[in-house]
């Protein structure tokens, strides 16, 4: 309960910041629309040539794009700002101030800043999603909605865990701005349905860097095509990644020696 109040407080401060910079928000909404449209152009060209690619129709592929945008938004609102700040604190040694506070350091570190300007990505993503579902004529069943909720939570947890691990690298390498950039560029591949990737890459994108679990699984869920195995894989993946990131965080914080260490 205490942690819920803590989260709410930290979020409130960030939201006030958004209200201060309204013009910036309008601009970011415009850019989000533009980026999404640009990402859809290849799909438009592709599906004017044929009706299905790797088992995905135009509408279904759009569902994946929708979830990709929503998750990208969630990542840049909730996860990334805090992680970037944490990496900077590790570099400068000001992480000490966080560690001194009487609450779990990982939770404090991961909730210290939210950037609600990126809400634009979520909005654009949801618009695409609704459009796609209308095009397909799909009305999600209550079960599908429940499954979608579960898989989305799993996706967010996995994304968060990967970020924690990338950020933990700052304990070792000090400067990780570029690494987050690299991760972003790889995450971009989650925009396409997972079945497009074959062979070794399919395994990597399911187990090592589970892009498939992030966007393809929620898409299957809302279309009502998710089977028990895939649902289990998503939950198992989320649990495993949480555990892994906790272990990495603990190991790294143990060797943290503050500035000049």
């Amino acid at each position: 309960m205490r942690y819920v109040r803590l989260l709410a407080n930290q979020a409130h401060v960030s939201f006030m910041l958004l209200l201060q910079y309204r013009a910036d928000f309008a601009l970011s909404l415009l850019l989000a629309c533009f980026w999404t449209l640009s990402a859809i152009v290849p799909l438009l060209v592709l599906y004017s040539d044929r009706s299905s690619v790797a088992g995905w129709t135009w509408g279904e592929a759009l569902v994946v794009v929708g979830w990709f945008n929503v998750l990208k938004g969630v990542q840049s609102i909730v996860i990334q700002p805090s992680m970037n700040l944490a990496a900077e604190q590790i570099r400068k040694g000001t992480l000490d101030f966080v560690l001194m506070k009487p609450a779990d350091a990982q939770i404090l570190v991961s909730s210290q800043r939210f950037d609600f300007r990126q809400l634009s990505d979520v909005i654009v993503g949801l618009v695409i999603l609704v459009y796609a579902l209308v095009t397909l004529g799909v009305v999600p069943t209550p079960l599908a909605v429940a499954e979608t909720a579960v898989t989305l939570v799993c996706a967010t947890v996995i994304l968060y865990s990967i970020w924690v691990m990338v950020m933990s690298l700052a304990f070792v390498f000090v400067k990780v701005d570029n690494l987050t950039f690299l991760f972003q560029s790889i995450y971009d591949a989650a925009r396409w349905p997972g079945s497009i990737f074959r062979g070794g890459l399919a395994i990597v994108f399911t187990f090592v860097l589970p892009l498939t679990l992030m966007t393809t699984t929620p898409s299957l869920a809302i279309l009502g095509r998710l089977n028990a195995k895939e649902l289990l894989l998503a939950c198992g993946g989320a649990a495993l990644f949480t555990l892994l990131s906790r272990v990495v965080w603990k190991a790294c914080i143990a060797r943290y020696t503050s500035a000049g260490g």
Binding site: L46, F181, L182
Partner: protein, 271 residues
């Protein structure tokens, strides 16, 4: 002063400037490597289009054609990147551009050299990609016309120069307006779609193709790529490279004009 002396005075600082910039590029080679790895979009697009072509070719584009196209695209992209708009924006905002104004060398030249200095490092890092690409693509899908190979370096350099001049113009907007980075982002977004970076422009519907091939973005990437792949006749290539250099002239003039106007109203930090 005679014209020869003027040119000599103008050329004199260049070797030193180049050496300094090169040292800078070598010092931050780790960052350059990660940046190289981050430029993986053409590879992802290669996989995507490969999966598509595995089911059935798209027009005359089969798996081999897509592979050749995106590998060459990756190479050209790695060699033609320019980000000077971000640099100018930062320097205008923190006032450090004042230092450049003091130097007896046009800042555009300084920027160009700093950018070009990263080429040796980039070439070394791109080499493995080139070798892999050459192995995978073979000689079948590249041009067999030696005149096109002669033209290729000019088109590749032109691609970089066009991107660089456009970035200069966008950067100069920082003198008038703070949020120019949004315009830079917009430019890059248009580049992604209309340069042939994620989709060969040829696959656009004919009416769109007619427009898109005349836009500046196509001349940054598609022109050198098509040249290397020999997708057009030599005469067509010549026309494209001509258009490319015309665009370079336009953007350079625009950037010079914006720079003049901008410096006039620039009051440095705290002004």
């Amino acid at each position: 002063m005679s014209a020869a002396a003027a040119i000599k005075g103008w050329l004199k600082p260049l070797p030193t400037l180049y050496k300094v910039s090169l040292a800078d590029a070598v010092a931050y080679r780790g960052q350059a490597l990660i940046w190289l790895l981050s430029t993986n979009t053409p590879l992802i697009m290669l996989l995507l289009w490969n999966a598509v072509a595995a089911e059935a070719p798209v027009g005359r584009w089969g798996q081999a054609e897509f592979r050749a196209y995106f590998l060459v695209t990756l190479i050209v992209r790695l060699l033609s990147g320019a980000w000077v708009a971000w640099e100018i924006n930062m320097e205008v905002r923190d006032g450090s551009i004042a230092g450049r104004l003091l130097k007896p060398l046009h800042p555009f030249m300084a920027y160009a050299f700093e950018n070009l200095a990263s080429w040796p490092v980039r070439l070394v890092m791109t080499a493995p990609v080139v070798v892999t690409a050459a192995y995978l693509v073979g000689t079948e899908h590249v041009t067999h016309d030696w005149r096109q190979w002669l033209l290729f370096p000019l088109a590749l350099f032109g691609g970089w120069l066009l991107q660089f001049c456009a970035m200069l113009a966008i950067g100069c907007l920082s003198f008038f307006w703070q949020s120019t980075l949004a315009i830079g982002e917009l430019w890059f977004g248009l580049y992604v779609v209309f340069s042939g970076y994620i989709i060969p422009l040829e696959l656009f519907p004919p009416w769109a193709l007619a427009i898109v091939t005349k836009l500046p973005w196509a001349h940054i990437l598609t022109t050198p790529v098509r040249l290397a792949l020999g997708l057009d006749t030599f005469e067509q290539s010549l026309l494209q490279v001509g258009e490319q250099w015309a665009y370079i002239a336009v953007f350079l003039l625009l950037a010079t004009w914006l720079w003049r106007k901008g410096v006039q109203r620039y009051e440095a930090f705290g002004g």
